[in-house]
Amino acid sequence: MERKNNYKAWLYLAPILIFIFLFTIFPIINTFIISFLKNYNYATGANEGFTFENYGLILGITERIPGVSESKMLDFIRYALPNTLLITFVSVPISVILALVISILLNKIKVLHDLFQTIFFLPYVTNTIAVGMVFAIIFSNTGLFNNIFGLGNVNWVQEGLGSTWGKCMFVLCLYVIWTGLPFKILIFSSALHNIDQQYYDAARIDATPKWKTDLKIVLPLISPQILYITITSFITGFKEYNAIIGLFNRSYTINPNVHDLYTVVYYIYDQIQGTNGTRHLEYAAAGAVVLFVIILIFTLIQMKVAKKRVHY
């Protein structure tokens, strides 16, 4: 009986095992290998042996060999990594706090509660590219944002046409916060909803002011969710890419050799896409491994913290 079940189970698992091996497990190992290959050719698999140079080059440690054709490889350490860190460390705290405030307020109302909950969830299902384009229109030099705030003819999103790196980053962070809110609000709301009424009753008997109840009782009770959300937001923040394409398109500068809006994932895909037909998968792979290490660190922190802090 045991034995029979055994082989049957593997039959049920066969399709997923095939797909997960071909498109998940093998790629992980293979990409790791590619990141250590010199001058890897994706079509033939040809390479010039094992090297650490790909990492050295994208991280700016290895000097560039003179004569190597103009490549974007250095932009990883120059733009991609700093931009990604900036976007993440600016947008995550703001959006977590904002989501907390909105969820706490939302938890206080009964009339129209479901309607507002749905509205706040709406950005989750939308196409990041499409709404990014709407943001670009709102923030164009003759757009709605300048008009409402009477700012005149400021160009926010087109770097070639008067906008700067700083202004682009400002709009980008706003957009990243906007897209990140719905998930956080939904998780916080359901955590707040699950808090036992007795905590509120106890606070009321003690005549605790409402703001104090929120600060001293409610927040600690949902602290596991806050931690979870913060760390997962960091992880998604490190993968930011679609928002940039939506807002700025791929050709956002007059000078095609300046990529000051790169993020790590943007860099990776641009290296796969390549310039003038030459794809640099080895640099993309090295970038992906760096991203993986960053995400791994955050995941480990999350696991450690979750073990300590979860209370049922």
Binding site: A9, W10, L13, I28, N30, Q273, L281, A284, A288, F292
Partner: protein, 320 residues
């Protein structure tokens, strides 16, 4: 009875002018009302900010170009129907934005990805939830571990795989394009995790009962487990479909033949422009009409399946 009367007429005198319990209660009620009003005002402001891009997307597609370029908030009502018709017909007649064709490709890729993924997920979730085999825990842990690895790691090799299979090239045919778009997304560990949880909640007694009835595992899975888990299955279907509809990165890498383009790629790469005084000028109102055409089908799906989607995402968050 008498006692009760006394209590109802009792007035607690608090030092100070007019400070009875009644007044205090009244005061509390008013304060609470003010408090609620402030809460609502804030919520409405936040809701306005969240909805603004959606509103403006639609409003902009109802404007004439000059109006949009003056930062207007409302489309002008003069000739509005002509403006709408004009914007939308120009948008869908743009050769780089063949809406029907794009919609068809996006739908086919979305439905086939989702359906095949669902089938594979049901089979594996059943094995993980109800069958016994050696190495089950280890295998499931490996599955879960792959979830924290960024998709970019897979994308690089998957790209070479698809290129070496000949699916990615400028003269790719329809089937090759679809396969390149679908194959890497058939397996999805998170959905297996979600469905396994649901399957595990189904009491084992049902399984034993069906054994007594002489049903095989296969029949039990499709006749009992699947119907009982329909709400989780719908959640998975919708979430998966939305993901596929909105994906940009992978399609952008593997679609080299524009004949088989999908919506989000065409939306971003098409330049809607008109020739004016011998200069090409971008037409943002048409671009916005295109974003409306891309976003609205999903919004409709969301409105119909709101409960399933929100429940699924909620469970996704609680897993952590």
């Amino acid at each position: 009875m008498k006692e009760l009367e006394i209590t109802t007429h009792l007035t607690l005198i608090v030092p100070g002018k007019n400070r009875s319990v009644k007044n205090a209660e009244k005061r509390d009620k008013i304060l609470h009302g003010i408090f609620l009003a402030i809460v609502y005002i804030f919520i409405i402001i936040f809701a306005f900010v969240v909805l603004l891009p959606f509103y403006y997307m639609i409003a902009a597609s109802f404007m004439v170009e000059d109006q949009l370029n003056s930062g207007a908030f409302f489309p002008s009502l003069a000739n509005i129907f002509e403006t709408i018709a004009n914007n939308y017909t120009h948008t869908i007649s743009n050769p780089s934005f063949p809406y029907g064709e794009l919609l068809l490709n996006t739908l086919i890729v979305g439905i086939v990805t989702t359906a095949s993924s669902l089938l594979v997920t049901i089979l594996s979730a059943f094995a993980f939830a109800k069958l016994h085999f050696k190495g089950k825990e280890v295998l499931f842990t490996i599955f879960l571990a792959t979830m924290m690895i960024p998709g970019e790691m897979m994308a690089i090799t998957n790209f070479t795989t698809m290129a070496n299979l000949g699916f990615v090239s400028a003269d790719q045919n329809r089937l090759q394009t679809y396969l390149a778009l679908i194959l890497p997304f058939v397996s999805n560990v998170f959905y297996i995790y979600l469905l396994r949880q649901t399957f595990m909640q189904i009491p084992n007694e049902l399984y034993l009962a069906s054994k007594v009835d002489g049903k095989s595992d296969w029949q039990y899975l499709w006749k009992v487990m699947v119907p009982l888990s329909s709400s989780t299955l719908i959640t998975i279907f919708i979430m998966n479909f939305i993901e596929s509809w909105n994906s940009y990165v992978w399609p952008n890498l593997v679609i080299l033949n524009d004949d088989y383009n999908v919506l989000s790629i065409a939306l971003r790469s098409t330049t809607f422009q008109v020739l004016e005084h011998e200069v090409w000028r971008p037409v943002y109102t048409q671009q916005m009409a295109a974003t409306v055409l891309t976003t609205v089908p999903l919004l409709l799906l969301f409105i119909f399946f709101r409960k399933y989607i929100m429940r699924g995402v909620e469970r996704a968050g609680i897993k952590g």
